[in-house]
């Protein structure tokens, strides 16, 4: 107890001493570099003492700035584009500017008279306010149908503004979300890899994931993009009615996260086996995590809908193909999108 009290006392004492020192140092004279004497008769700005040393210094600094600037030009001229040292270019032009700035700082502090002046803050103008109000009121003295005119002017202005904005609607389809709902998938359409080669069911392995595209559709069409995985058929717990959607345990989901539209680019398998025994599809943007064994239901993260699932079939040549269209809408949700497949 005693030790603690001693410590507190010492601490207080030390704090007090520090604080006292700071207080004693504190009241520095404000504006010590300002010239305070009034200008001599016939002058606007007070006279300062000449400082030849500062003038030489400024001249020197300006010359150094010029050398740096010249260095920039030389560097630009001497090196080929591939060997251009970006650092040297930056140092040259940055250095030139630094020396220019220092020169100006010397000018500001040693060569230019710095006065501290006072001025009035601008006041309000009640008289002018009243005069303007009166002016506006008086100007309308011949008008008797004020409301009618204001209404008509508002209508004309509004209609004209709308008319002016109308061409903007040509930017894209108006009030039409069909583009968000169309997909290239239909029964029999093959899955291809990034080079356009049809994918064989036999090539799809467990413990990894694949990017797949719709044959013949552009690779930038987000509704064409798939993530394909293989799970042991016994593990699958797909929603009712999807019993035949995953031949041999091969599953295809939309590659576009239903949260904010990034690509599903992480497969939590086989890593994280200790903490997360189940395989999971993860979006790296906001870590929405989906369970491929359960129809890509949301396991974790901000996504509000499962990834749409594409029913698959294996054709006679062993190629993967769609057996129909997605179970839901592809991509981020919008007002009115169906939360669950109907």
């Amino acid at each position: 107890m005693k030790v603690k009290r001693w410590l507190i006392a010492l601490g207080t004492l030390a704090y007090g001493r520090l604080r006292r020192k700071r207080i004693e140092r504190q009241p520095e004279p404000p504006g010590r570099e300002y010239v305070s004497e009034p200008p001599a008769p016939g002058h606007v700005v007070p006279q300062g003492k000449p400082s030849p040393f500062a003038e030489y210094l400024v001249a020197l600094l300006l010359l150094v700035a010029a050398i740096f600037a010249a260095g920039f030009i030389v560097t630009y001229a001497v090196y080929s584009p591939q060997e251009m040292p970006n650092q040297l270019l930056g140092v040259c032009i940055g250095g030139a500017l630094v020396f220019l700035a220092v020169a100006l700082a010397v000018v500001a502090h040693r060569l230019v008279v710095t006065e501290e002046l006072e001025d009035d803050y601008p006041e309000e103008h009640p008289q002018e306010q009243e005069q303007i109000a009166q002016l506006v009121r008086d100007s309308g003295s011949r008008i008797t149908r004020r409301k009618l005119l204001i209404g008509a002017a508002g209508t004309a202005g509004g209609a004209l503004a709308l008319a002016g904005l109308t061409p903007v609607l040509s930017l894209g389809p108006l009030w039409d979300t069909k583009a968000l709902e169309t997909t290239p998938w239909r029964r029999g359409r093959r899955l291809v890899d990034v080079d356009g080669r049809p994918m064989l069911a036999a090539d799809i392995e467990e413990e990894t994931f694949y990017a797949a595209f719709a044959q013949g559709a552009p690779t930038e069409e987000i509704a064409a993009l798939l993530v394909v995985v293989r799970l042991a058929p016994g593990q699958l717990r797909l929603p009712a009615g999807r019993g035949s959607w995953a031949p041999q345990g091969i599953l295809a989901y939309s590659r576009i996260c239903t949260h904010a539209g990034c690509a599903i680019e992480l497969y939590r398998k086989p890593k994280f086996a200790v903490t997360e025994p189940r395989p999971a599809l993860v979006c790296p943007c906001h870590y929405s995590t989906f369970d491929p064994a359960r129809g890509a239901a949301v396991l974790y993260g901000p996504a509000g809908r499962p990834l749409p699932q594409l029913p698959l079939m294996i054709d006679s040549e062993g190629h993967l193909a769609a057996a129909g269209d997605f179970s839901g809408r592809v991509g981020p949700a919008w007002w009115g999108v169906r939360a669950r497949p109907s």
Binding site: Y79, Q82, G90, T114, E221, L225, C262, A333, W334
Partner: protein, 464 residues
Amino acid sequence: MSDRVKDPVRFIDERTAAAPLLKKSLRYLFPDHWSFLLGEIALYAFVMLILTGVYLALFFDPSLAKTVYHGPYAPLHGQEMSEAYRSVVEISLTYKAGLLIRQTHHWAADVFIASIALHLMRVFFTGAFRKPRELTWLVGLTLLFVSLLEGYLGYSLVDDLLSGIGLAIGYGVLLSIPIVGGPLGVLLFGSAFPGKHLFESRMYIAHVFLIPALLATLIVIHLALVTARHHTQFRRDKRHTDKRIVGIPAFPAQAPRSLALMLIVAAVLFLLGGLVQINPIWQWGPFEPWLATNGAQPDWYLGWLIGALRLIPSFDVVIGHQTIVPNPFWGGAAFPLFVLAVLAAFPWVERVLTRDRATHNVLDRPREAPRRTAFGLAFLTWVFLIFAFGSADRLYVLFGVSYETLLTVFRIAIWVVPALLYLAVRRLCTELQRSDRLEHGRHNAEREAAEEEATMTARRQPVI
């Protein structure tokens, strides 16, 4: 008889009658305090953005047409990419000094928005937004939020992998806006994401013309409003009042100082552009909608939105089977709009709460307004913690704390920490005020004692 100083002045005045205005402007007073430079830094960063941006526009090709890369950067050889991305790789690696200008442009954008944010804090915590400067405050806030959009469009134009991911998220947020989101997304992009090729030129005209013109107009209005009402000032001595301003004149004293600051800003940006690599787009590769990458982070000024998108619990507002409000709306749109609304309304809210309708030209020290300072710090901390969570995946890599744990911790901390901070800061401010009063009293007493002693000595003197 010619006079080299007066002749040009006379020439100008005879043709514009501007001599009185010019004289007044030259003697405009600037209060001398370092914190007033933050806004100026933003202004000069904007100048740098225009200069470097014009240079970049001479080489950038805003086209999504496909091409195959055959430039000097071997890892991209033979890769299919858009003309836009190829032209930025070329600016970076083929044109002399192109990389310097591009990196300086990017750094200038980051510094521009950072200095606006710091300037906003200075204005907030000193009460500079109070009457008669509420309009200046609103224009400044608009400037900040338009700048965020401008920066976002700027790096979205490049069409590298990171910028494409950012654009996808922006599209998701756009779609999530209630009622109009879906149709608006289709209208702006021309189709579903990634949209028609025209979308790139739409972003381009917005980034290089529409928004810069808007920003420049807002800056002019902001500065006009500042000068119309003059600068605020701190109370250093009895001369500084709400009626009288004390400062150094624009000419000759302030001019070289301000010019030096402009050159220093330009110098720092060029040095950063030369020495510190930023967004090496050739490493990310071209964007494809089917690609994404782990550990992607936006520019710092959008980090708070990523944090909010990640923090928000998983729910869509659903009625029956119809989604009404998709999840990204809360973090990506409602959150920044809420922050904007709170800041925009603050001058009026404070007026109502404090019943203070007076004109204020003298600034508060933060301690003099305990509730404002406490609220400001708490609000700022709330936003900052959400911002910090935006890099939770990086925190996981750095500290090994699992993402799930971080999520839980942050979901609690963003409410608890600001609340505690509010109470602590309010207390601290009132304590500081009390110690100020004590010190003031002690100072007065000491002075009185000294004066008394002086008179005593003076009285004693004749005796000797």
